[in-house]
């Protein structure tokens, strides 16, 4: 039984084992921004650099700063483009998992009901 002492279980503490990893560094922030539609996905390990024919993409730092700036603006934070403490705090707030800048999309194939 999860531990609680008050009748309505309002003092129920989620087990420390299952806490969301705080967003505290650049990579976690990048992942947050791409997950919620503010930036493209960060290059994964082993991905190949774009070929000479690919259009010149903005340097990743500039693109990231722009994404951070847009995120800061909608969250009424100073749009500095820098990952300051207030921006990280905003990223750590409880939120819905649907992306912010795109309408929700169609459902994945449903799981088969267990027999």
């Amino acid at each position: 039984e999860p531990l609680f002492h008050s009748r309505d279980r309002s003092d129920l503490e989620p087990s420390p084992l299952r806490r969301a990893q705080p967003i505290a560094d650049l990579l976690a922030a990048q992942r947050f921004l791409s997950k919620y539609g503010w930036a493209d996905a960060p290059p994964g390990p082993g991905s190949r650099p774009p070929g000479p024919a690919a259009p010149r993409a903005r340097p990743p730092a500039a693109a990231l700063a722009e994404a951070v700036r847009r995120f800061q603006k909608v969250n009424a934070l100073p749009a500095s483009g820098r990952l300051d403490a207030a921006t990280l705090a905003a990223m750590n707030r409880p939120r819905c998992g649907v992306p912010d800048t795109r309408p929700p999309v169609s459902p994945p194939p449903r799981a088969r009901p267990k027999r």
Partner: protein, 424 residues
């Protein structure tokens, strides 16, 4: 989400509006189900969860022509919206929850809703934790097709905002969802303003009024100053009004002169008098004569059943409508005026040719908010030219009817809900 492959089977029947609007369900009654076992929460009882979800669906139903019905019997694939709670990897979902904090739920457009059971979901009555009701209302908005917005006050803000004063769908949220599903339309049995005498802080008697819309066995209080129905309406007539018929009321008349103040409900060939102070229908008058009474007895010369009626305070006449005729009843002489009955088209002539309800009016309603009489029929109304109108445009015929307008564009969001949620 953006990376999901499109569903291999294509939209399910009812997934998208056949009118080509793929962003909205085409059906107007949608089914939902809370997944049991793995999908149930470890923090709230299943009944509590289902009650909260039922309320969340009802809140969307109160502002759209959509109805939501819990379906615990049909095969899973036939249920429009499945909801479940889970931890980490859950319900066969390709998206893994992150534990307590940050992501507390997600949803798919025209699809399912998942809640992260590592979050501390609480009932609406609790100030602690994350309100399951608030999150459910938000995620249902996604399922119906609404994206996130950062507009303050919207239920579609991506972040959870604890301790908001009230969880209701505001004007902009309503307009957003109605862009996808349209607004609520429909006819009414009767519409009337109910006057309340109150004493203000100086002890002086003041008059306030609320507007009521009756349809079948339900009613809505319309808050004119907020341009919407009362939060939580419709209610059942029998719950709010005592001793009158529980449904299909034909007319309401508030007879109000210097010496008299009487309120009557009409249905079939009978009428009831209502006691505003005791909030119930009289069972008998001061002479011991019982109510309800036959209309022909209390209003000689008036046929029944009626279509509708309204009271003109200035002329001290009650206009009774039946089929294509209107009867003007003099309340002081207790008889129909000699020049009546008249055809409605003669008594209330059309200002624009061919633009007239003609017969079988649903409701004739004098609005204190608009100082005008309206004739309602189906989903349209015709406004009767008031004295003020005629002072500005002297060519207007007396009691002329302006061209028809849509009821739902003057009185907003008077929506049905599914009968299973009526008593919430």
């Amino acid at each position: 989400f953006a990376r999901w492959p499109p569903p291999p089977w294509g939209p399910r029947p009812g997934d998208a509006a056949p009118r080509g609007d793929a962003r909205a369900f085409a059906k107007r009654t949608l089914t939902w189900r809370l997944l049991g076992d793995e999908g149930a929460s470890s923090q709230l009882s299943a009944d509590e969860q289902r009650h909260i979800l039922r309320l969340a669906f009802r809140m969307w139903s109160e502002v759209t022509p959509l109805n939501f019905r819990e379906d615990v019997a049909a095969p899973g694939a036939a249920v429009d919206i499945q909801l479940g709670l889970g931890r980490g990897r859950h319900l066969g979902c390709p998206r893994v929850f992150d534990g307590s904090g940050q992501e507390f739920a997600h949803a798919w457009h025209l699809g399912d809703i998942h809640f992260d059971d590592d979050e501390h979901f609480t009932p609406p009555t609790s100030d602690a934790g994350i309100s399951l009701l608030k999150v459910a209302v938000h995620e249902i908005g996604h399922v119906l097709g609404l994206p996130h917005t950062y507009r303050p006050g919207s239920v579609m803000q991506p972040n959870y905002i604890p301790r908001e004063p009230v969880l209701e769908l505001d004007w902009a949220d309503r307009k957003a969802i109605q862009k996808l599903y349209g607004s609520c339309k429909g006819s009414f049995d009767t519409v009337f303003d109910w006057i309340r005498k109150e004493r203000n802080q100086y002890g002086a008697v003041t008059m306030r009024f609320s507007t009521y819309f009756f349809r079948n066995g339900w009613y809505w209080l319309y808050e004119n100053r907020n341009n919407r129905t009362r939060y939580g309406d419709p209610l059942q007539i029998a719950r709010g009004w005592h001793g009158i018929p529980a449904q299909n009321v034909d007319a309401f008349v508030h007879l109000w002169t210097w010496r008299r103040e009487e309120r009557y409900f009409f249905k079939g060939n009978q009428y009831w008098r209502y006691d505003s102070e005791k909030d119930q229908a009289y069972t008998e008058d001061e002479h011991g004569r019982s109510y309800p009474r036959r209309i022909s007895e209390g209003f000689p010369g008036i046929p029944s059943p009626l279509d509708t009626a309204f009271y003109d305070r200035r002329k001290q006449l009650i206009y009774f409508f039946k089929e294509s005729l209107v009867f003007a009843f003099d309340v002081n002489r207790n008889q129909v005026l000699d020049s009546y009955p008249m055809k409605i088209t003669d008594a209330f002539p059309a200002i624009e040719p061919q633009n007239h309800p003609l017969r079988n009016i649903d409701s004739a309603y004098y609005s204190y908010a608009h100082n005008s009489v309206f004739l309602l029929k189906g989903s349209a109304y015709w406004k009767v030219a008031s004295d003020k109108d005629r002072q500005q445009h002297s060519w207007l015929p007396s009691s002329g009817l302006f061209p028809k307008q849509s009821i739902s564009e003057k009185w907003f969001d008077i929506c049905d809900v599914h009968t299973s949620t009526l008593n919430m």
